[in-house]
């Protein structure tokens, strides 16, 4: 009864917030309720169908509809989606298998370069052929290839790291991750493969005539930019769906259980007949594969990539998302990615804008005993620049007050009633 009421409430809230967003897509106050409902969809204990209906309804109907007038929504969604996939991948390695990996951005880089090199004129520096490969199957083909190359690199990086645990593993993966970035930075000679620090641009996007045709039905003068924003938004959601499905299924299989077992106790796991080598390599490969897929999408979406995007800081940010959300928790990884991305590109930017407005208008704060003229506020004070500090502060507070993360890992129920 209570569940039913809450379900109806959640669906009503979803409809209301969705309608509000569509009616005023540019106002930032309409985005907040939508995010709140999505948050509830992730965290509430309600039947899966209800949470899926509410969440997917907002993601696939309300946001795209509002996005036609406010493309920023797509941009936000894509950013959150890309980082969610990365966090989900790292969650397999760090959260489930307990292998501390500080070089995770390397796999993202490998996925990105896999498409960027062949999806631009870059490949013609070292091989014959008609580059960029712009036909429609190429992008998807290379995205699949990116999954494969990232997974193989995952295994290669995993191999030397197999005998190491904890801090030692972290240092080695950190080093190997940097190797990939330094390679990307320096492989512009003797043969120009990555174009070095200048990066690769422009990277082709897959053609989307079908989506443009569809868009033109609703809006005859929809621009290709809008079409691509919608396309990547939908693509990212589809990939997230796939990644979550894979994550859940692995979690419910002997592979996922073996990962958690070696995280909990390697000696006991081996006494159960579990091979550490195979289990760890599977974890590295699986985690890397998700990252590789998103790398290819990232390259196509940005149309420009350079080694700058794949720094140690990036790896640490992703790790922070996993820790914030809750190690080993699938929903936690998504929530962590969403919160950190929102903080970076929405909350802090809004704070900066707000302070700038106050500064420019010379607003005077008057509390009677205390007066402050915002025109005097130093222009260096800009919250958007304090991203790292605030992120660090949040992590420290998390470690003190909720070390298990926002949505802690839940081990599955036995589900006895299911088929007895």
């Amino acid at each position: 009864m209570k569940t039913k009421l809450l379900s109806i409430l959640l669906l009503t809230l979803a409809c209301a917030s969705g309608a509000a967003l569509c009616s005023a897509p540019r106002a930032s106050w309409t985005l907040l309720p939508v995010l709140a409902v999505l948050f509830l969809c992730l965290t509430m204990r309600l039947p899966r169908t209800v949470r899926f209906t509410a969440g997917l309804g907002l993601l696939l109907i309300a946001i795209p509809f509002a996005g036609f007038t406010n493309t920023f929504l797509f941009e936000l969604g894509i950013q959150i989606g890309i980082f969610s996939a990365l966090a989900l991948g790292l969650n397999v390695v760090v959260g489930m298998a307990g292998l501390l990996d500080l070089g995770y951005a390397a796999f993202f880089a490998i996925g990105a370069y896999t498409w960027a090199i062949f999806g631009s004129t870059q490949a013609s520096y070292f091989m014959n052929g008609n580059f960029p490969l712009a036909g429609w199957p190429y992008f998807y083909l290379f995205a699949a290839l990116a999954v494969l190359t990232a997974a193989i690199t995952g295994i290669l990086i995993g191999l030397p790291a197999l005998r190491l645990r904890g801090d030692y593993l972290a240092v080695v993966t950190l080093g190997l991750g940097e190797v990939v970035r330094v390679l990307a930075n320096n492989l512009d000679h003797p043969v120009n493969i990555t174009n070095g620090p200048q990066g690769i641009s422009p990277v082709e996007r897959p053609p989307i005539p079908w989506l443009m045709d569809l868009l033109h039905i609703f809006n005859p003068d929809a621009s290709p930019a809008l079409g691509y924003a919608l396309f990547f938004y939908l693509l990212v959601i589809a990939i997230i769906g796939l990644v979550v499905l894979i994550n859940v299924r692995l979690d419910h299989s002997r592979f996922g259980r073996a990962w958690v077992a070696i995280r909990e106790d390697e000696i006991a796991a081996r006494a159960m007949g579990i091979s550490l080598t195979r289990t760890k390599l599977f974890a590295f490969a699986t985690g890397a594969a998700f990252s590789g897929a998103m790398g290819a999408v990232f390259a196509a979406k940005q149309r420009f990539i350079s080694p700058e995007s794949f720094t140690l800081l990036q790896s640490i940010t992703i790790l922070g998302m996993v820790i914030l959300g809750g190690m080993g928790s699938i929903r936690g990884a998504i929530l962590g990615a969403a919160l950190v991305t929102l903080l970076n590109i929405e909350v802090l930017k809004s704070c900066s804008d707000f302070l700038n407005t106050l500064r420019q208008t010379g607003f005077v704060l008057d509390l009677g005993f205390f007066q402050y003229n915002f025109a005097l506020l130093p222009s260096q004070l800009e919250p958007a620049k304090y991203e790292r500090m605030i992120f660090g502060l949040i992590l420290v507070l998390m470690m003190i007050f909720r070390p298990q993360g926002l949505i802690p890992e839940v081990r599955h129920r036995l589900e006895l009633e299911k088929d007895d």
Binding site: V260, A261, A269, R411
Partner: protein, 257 residues
Amino acid sequence: MLEIAAISLNFGGLAALEDVSLKVAEGQIFSVIGPNGAGKSTLFNVLTGIYPPATGAIHFLGRKISKLPPQRIARRGIGRTFQNIRLFGSMTVFENVLVGRHTHIRYTYADALLHTPRYFCAERSARDKVLDLLNFVGLEARAEELARNLSYGDQRRLEIARAMAIQPRLLLLDEPAAGMNPRETDALKALIRALRDERRITILLIEHHMQVVMAVSDRIAVLDHGRLIAEGAPAAIRENPAVIEAYLGPGAKESLA
């Protein structure tokens, strides 16, 4: 079934095991006793491949296992529990035993991703086996609790169920009665006998609790300072002067008399 031939192992200058030879026959409950630091747990660690022996050889079911890694030895059919309990604490009781089924659940990565019939079939049969084992050790009501939340005695029994899940022919129990109250100890005795009589598992037992050892063992071996000082039936071991001396110090027999 298990033949240990003259194995030795040194930690630095310390001889943890010195020229130890034992034969365990199928269907026996074979106990290894000895004072603290005698090398009993080291013997288990050598048998299960955690430390390879420096010299000597171990044969199990006629095949040499003394150079194999732990997971291979487990797959050959040697299960074990640990003196300092090593459960997967943040997994449920049910999952702990399910991990033990790992090598018997035969499906590929692709089966798990695509949820093929083979996946469901294997998972269902694994689940049935696990429930059967939890029933056997009397933990079925606790199936959904996290392993780390169990009482000490229950954790010991869960370790036995988990070790049973790999379908061992030989089960090594390392001080299963440690930390148990008298009621739990009695239940443990029954459980060890049932393991052998109902499940046809040969048992190698390390135990300090003499009442348990004397009640269940068919044969007893006594280790002291890494050397085998006696081996025989319980009654003979109880009377063996070397054993009494090892436990109580030289001259103990005389002062007891």
